[in-house]
Amino acid sequence: MTDRFNLYRFASPATFYPLAGTLIPYFAAIAAVFGIAGLYVGMLVAPTDFQQGEGYRIIFIHVPASWLSMFIYLVMAGWAAIGLAFNTRLSGMMAQALAPTGALMAFLSLWTGALWGKPMWGTWWVWDARLTSELILLFLYIGYMALTAAIDDARRADKAGGLLLLVGVVNVPIIYFSVKWWNTLHQGSSVNLTKSSMAETMLWGMLLMAMCFWMYSIAVALMRVRTIMLERERHTDWVKAILAGGEQ
């Protein structure tokens, strides 16, 4: 009876694998609902910005992508810490499953930022604190993926990659506070916990899109972790049973 409600049970790949499979369609559907709502509010309802005209609408993907690029990195570093402390199998798999999505979010943050910077600042890129630290974040993701891919033994790859993630985590607060700590071309944060400098519909559009990006990231990472589990646990009975059972 106690075993039924034991959360640690899901730390085992054999029980997490089917759970993840069940959850993926729900996260994907929630992401789609938030995405449609966010695009409707952001692109069709929200008014124009009095300073930036319609160009500000890039915010509805730029901010969610930037938030997720930092948040996914923090989650990966958290998994790395758990993995290094408790030597759990699942942690390394979760970190590896999240990395490509985090890297894509960092790329989207830089890409949409460049397309926003050109009309507003007159340049695609400047070497200022906010932009440079976000670029370093992208390199940290790529470095983590390259490092773990270069080490054949999965557990050793997890350890080396985990150390890289934990060292690199110092970069995240630097990104976040860079607009406060340094003089930068990048505008200050539009949203705080206490006050927001945006019109209400703009804020709603941004939050809805952030939820969409978040749910999307969970869905894709769960898809990816299932493949990593099959690959890494291929010598176990539960994977052999799944492969023999004709899993698609």
């Binding site: 490509p100 999505t101 989207l108 397309l115 926003w116 009309p119 898809m223 493949t227 994977v239 052999k240």
Partner: protein, 62 residues
């Protein structure tokens, strides 16, 4: 409720069309291609693992 007067206004984005749609287009492409790539990788991985499993069971049977 809807802010735009016409569809062409919507596309023009007040002169920022290239930048806005360049951002949204690439983001949409990434969010479409990534899950497809993950699903394809999953298919090829499962096929390879099945082949390996069959090869292993043959060698142990001999």
């Amino acid at each position: 409720m809807i802010y735009w007067n016409s569809f062409s206004d919507f596309l023009a984005m007040g002169g920022y069309g290239l930048y806005v749609w360049g951002s949204f287009g690439v983001t949409a492409a990434v969010m479409l291609i990534e899950p497809i790539a993950v699903a394809r990788h999953r298919k090829t991985t499962i096929a390879r693992l099945k082949r390996q499993l069959r090869a292993e069971s043959r060698t142990t049977a001999e």
